[in-house]
Amino acid sequence: MATLTTTVRDTPVAQDAPRAGRFSFSRLLAPALLTPSFLAIVVFVYGFIGFTLWVSMSNWRTNRRDLSLHDPLYGVYQDLLNQARFQIDLRNTFVFTMIFLLLAVAMGLSLAILLDRHVPASGFFRSIFLFPYALSFITTGVAWRWLFNPTTGINTLVDQLGINSVLGWFGLGPFAPGWITDPTVHGDLRNWLPFLDGVKVQLGIPAAMVAVTIAAAWQLSGFAMAMYLAGMGMISNEVREAASLDGASPWRLYRDIIIPLLKPITVSILIILGHVSLKIFDLIYAMSGKGPGFATDVPGIFVFDKMFGAQQYNLGAAASIVMLFLVSVVIVPYLARQLKDL
C-alpha cells in the first residue's frame, strides 16, 4: 500500500521533470537528425553543381586538371551551342519529350479509363500494365532494340502474318520501316520560320526518335495509368451518380467531368515524366545509341563522349549545366507551387 501511495504521489513529479528535459531534447533532435543529410546534400549535390558550373567556365580541356577561368567566361557555352551535334541533341530532346509525354499520357489515361469500367480481373490487368515500370531502362532498351531491328524484329512478324502480301494486292509497297536505323528527319521548321536560318541542323522530327519514344512510352504509361487510377479513386461516387441521373453518357462523363477533375494529376504526370525525359540517357544508350546521323543522340550521351572520350571537361560540364537548366525550367515552378500549398 505504501509503495502504491508513493508511486501515485511521485508520478506527477517524475513525469514533470523528464518532460521538461524531453522537450528541449526533442527540440534539438530534429536539427541533429537533419544536419548530416543537410551537410551531405550541401556538399554532394549543391557543392558539385557549383563545381560543375565552375568547370564549365574553366579552361579544363585535357586530362590535366586546369581550373583557371576561361576568357570570356561564357566562351565554352558559346562553343557548345555552336556545335551542330549539340544543336541536334537539343532538337532531339525536345522532340522526344513532346512525343513521349503525349503517348504516355494518352495511353495511361486510356488504360485507366478501361480499368475504371470495372472490367473482370482489373487487378490482374493493373499489375500487367504497371510491370514494365519495374524494369530498368537498359532492359527495355535492349529488348526494343531487337524488336525495332528492321531485318529481324517487328518487320519480320508483319511479313510472316501476310500483311505485306495483302498490301501488295492493293499495289502498296511492303510495311518495312527502318525504325531506329531510319536517318530521315521529317519536316524542317526553318522553312516556315526564317529567323531560324542561323541554326545548323534540320529542325524536324527524326524518324528514329519516334521508335525510341514508343519504347519509353511503353515503359512509363503504366505509371501514368496508376496515377490516373489513384486520381479516379478520389473522385466521389456521388459525382458519377449525379452525372448518370442527369443522363450523361459514359463518354460525356469522362470528357466533361472526370478528365477535367483529373487536371492536377495530369500536371503531376507531365512534370514527373517531363524531367525523366529531359535527362534520358540509359534507354537511348542501350537501344539506338547516337542513331543514324545523330538522329537519337541526346545531351546525356554528348556529355559522356566529350567528358571521357574527348577529355574536354569544360565542354562536358557546360552541357551538363544546360541539362540542369532545362530540368529546372520544368521542376522549379512545380516545386514553387507545392511549397505555396504547404
Binding site: 580541356r61 585535357t62 586530362n63 590535366r64 586538371r65 551542330a84 551535334r85 532494340r145 531491328n149 528492321p150 531485318t151 527502318g178 531506329i180 536505323t181 536517318p183 528514329a208 539506338s288 545509341g289 547516337k290 542513331g291 543514324p292 546521323g293 545523330f294 538522329a295 559522356f304 563522349d305 566529350k306 567528358m307 571521357f308 572520350g309 574527348a310 577529355q311 574536354q312
Partner: protein, 441 residues
C-alpha cells in the same frame, strides 16, 4: 615474440605488400617507439623482401578472345613472381570507352592501378603523360634492350622529350578488308593479293547486282566510320602524306582529304541500310555468314572468323588502296606515378615486354608481337601475313584508335564521320575537321 615485435614484423610485411601506406607506417611505427630513420630502414627492408603483395592491372580485355590472352600474361608473371597476388581490374565494353571513363575517374581522384592498358601515341601522351600520371621507364628500355627489339615507330609512339613511358605488348593491323569467297564467286569476282579502289568499285558493283550488300558496315561503335575514313585517306594520299594531316602540315579541306571523303561516300553506296544498329562484330558476322561481301575492319575481326571456324570462307586483303601500309593499333601498359606497388608494376612491364610472354599472349589475342625478333611460326596463316607486313610496310598510327590524334580530335573525327554516313556532305565534313584541327592550338 613479444607483441611489439609481432606488430613490427606485421608492419614490415604490410609495407612490403603495399597494404600499409608510408604515412600509416610512420604513424604506427611512432606508436611502437621507433624513430623515423629506423622506420625508413624498416620500410626499405619490407620493400626489398621477396616480391609479394599485389599487382592491380587495369584493362578492357573481357571478351572471350581477350580474357584468356590477358590471363596468359598473368601466367607469365606468376611464373616469376608466384607470391604476388594479381588483381584483374578489367572493365567490359567495346573499344574501351567505359573502361577509360572509369580509369580517368580513378586517376583524377589520385587512385591509380599498378598498370593500365592504353594505346600508344597521342592517347598515351595527351591522356596520361602530359597530365603527369605516368613515370618514365627509360631504365627498363635500356636494361631490357627494348630500344632495339621494337621497331622505331613503336618506340617513338611511347616517347615524349626523349623519355619512354609505356611498353607495347601486341600489334593489331587496322587496315584489313575481309571478304566472303563464296559471295564473290557468285558475283564472278576474284580478289588477288591487293585491291585498288577502282577494283573495289568494280567488284562492289558486281556483288550489288546479285542483290547482296557489297559492304557490311556496323557503325553503332563510334570508331568504325572514322576507321573507314582514315583508311580511305591513306589510300587517297599515300602513307608519306597521311601523317601530315595530323601534324598540321596538310589541311583537312585540301584535295587529298576531299578525295578520300568522296571515295568514302562512294563506298557508302554499297553498305547495308541497318548499319547504325549493328556493332562492328555483327558486320563481320554478315561477311562470315555470306550476307555481305566485304567488311573493313582491324584484324580483331579475324578473331570472329576463327571463333566461327570460317577460315576457309573468309579471305583478307589490305583495305582498298592501302597495300604497303600497316595501320598500327598497339596496346601498351604504363607505369603510373604513385603506383601502389611500384616494384611489382615494373616487373610486370619487364614480363610483358619479353619475347616469351609476347609469343604466348598474341596468338590468343589475335595480334602479333610488338617485338621484331619474335618467332611467328606458331601463329595462324593470317598473322604470318600480317607479321610480314609489319616488318616490311610503312607503319602508320591510327587516328580512329587514338594514336595519331589527340582525344579531342579523335572525338571530332568520330562525330564528323558518323554525320557523314548520312549526309555524305564532303564540304561540311572537311570544314568540321578544319575547325577541330584549329582548336587544337
Amino acid at each position: 615474440m613479444t607483441s611489439q615485435n609481432r606488430e613490427l614484423s606485421d608492419l614490415i610485411a604490410g609495407i612490403g605488400s603495399g597494404r600499409v601506406t608510408r604515412r600509416d607506417a610512420l604513424k604506427r611505427g611512432a606508436a611502437l617507439g621507433l624513430s623515423v630513420p629506423a622506420l625508413s630502414m624498416a620500410m626499405k627492408l619490407g620493400e626489398t623482401a621477396a616480391q609479394s603483395g599485389s599487382l592491380e592491372i587495369f584493362s578492357w580485355w573481357t571478351s572471350p578472345g581477350e580474357a584468356p590472352a590477358l590471363q596468359s600474361l598473368f601466367d607469365s608473371y606468376a611464373e616469376l613472381y608466384p607470391d604476388v597476388e594479381i588483381v584483374n581490374a578489367a572493365i567490359a565494353g567495346g573499344g574501351g570507352g567505359p573502361a577509360q571513363a572509369v580509369l580517368q575517374t580513378r586517376l583524377q581522384g589520385g587512385n591509380p592501378p599498378d598498370s593500365w592498358q592504353t594505346h600508344i601515341g597521342r592517347e598515351l601522351f595527351d591522356g596520361y603523360v602530359n597530365a603527369g600520371f605516368t613515370e618514365a621507364i627509360n631504365d627498363l628500355y635500356e636494361s631490357e634492350g627494348w630500344l632495339e627489339a621494337f621497331p622505331p615507330a613503336l618506340v617513338e609512339g611511347v616517347t615524349v622529350d626523349g623519355n619512354q613511358y609505356a611498353v607495347g605488348v601486341g600489334v593489331h593491323r587496322g587496315n584489313g578488308y575481309w571478304y566472303n569467297r563464296e559471295v564473290l564467286a557468285n558475283a564472278g569476282v576474284e580478289v588477288g593479293e591487293t585491291l585498288s579502289f577502282d577494283e573495289f568499285v568494280a567488284a562492289a558493283d558486281a556483288v550489288a547486282a546479285t542483290g547482296v550488300p557489297a559492304v557490311a558496315l556496323g557503325s553503332a561503335d563510334g570508331f568504325v566510320a572514322a576507321q573507314y575514313f582514315e583508311n580511305e585517306l591513306i589510300s587517297a594520299v599515300g602513307p608519306e602524306n597521311y601523317p601530315k594531316y595530323f601534324s598540321g602540315e596538310l589541311a583537312w579541306d585540301d584535295d587529298g582529304a576531299r578525295a578520300a571523303a568522296a571515295n568514302f561516300a562512294k563506298a557508302l553506296e554499297y553498305v547495308n541500310e541497318d548499319h547504325s544498329a549493328l556493332p562492328w562484330s555483327d558486320a563481320v558476322a554478315m561477311v562470315i555468314e555470306g550476307r555481305a561481301a566485304f567488311n573493313s575492319m582491324g584484324d580483331w575481326a579475324y578473331g570472329e572468323v576463327v571463333a566461327k571456324g570460317a577460315q576457309d570462307v573468309v579471305g583478307w586483303v589490305s583495305h582498298p588502296g592501302t597495300a604497303g601500309s600497316f595501320v598500327l593499333v598497339v596496346d601498351c601498359f604504363t607505369l603510373p606515378v604513385g603506383a601502389p606497388n611500384a616494384e611489382n608494376a615494373a616487373n610486370w612491364l619487364k614480363v610483358i615486354g619479353s619475347k616469351s610472354a609476347q609469343e604466348a599472349f598474341n596468338p590468343l589475342k589475335g595480334s602479333i608481337p610488338a617485338r621484331l625478333d619474335a618467332d611467328l611460326s606458331g601463329f595462324s596463316e593470317y598473322h604470318q601475313w600480317s607479321g610480314a607486313s609489319f616488318a616490311a610496310d610503312a607503319l602508320l598510327h591510327s587516328a580512329a584508335h587514338g594514336q595519331a590524334a589527340s582525344p579531342a580530335f579523335k572525338q571530332a573525327l568520330y562525330d564528323a564521320a558518323l554525320a557523314f554516313l548520312v549526309s555524305k556532305d564532303v564540304d561540311t565534313f572537311a570544314m568540321t575537321l578544319v575547325d577541330a584541327q584549329s582548336s587544337e592550338g
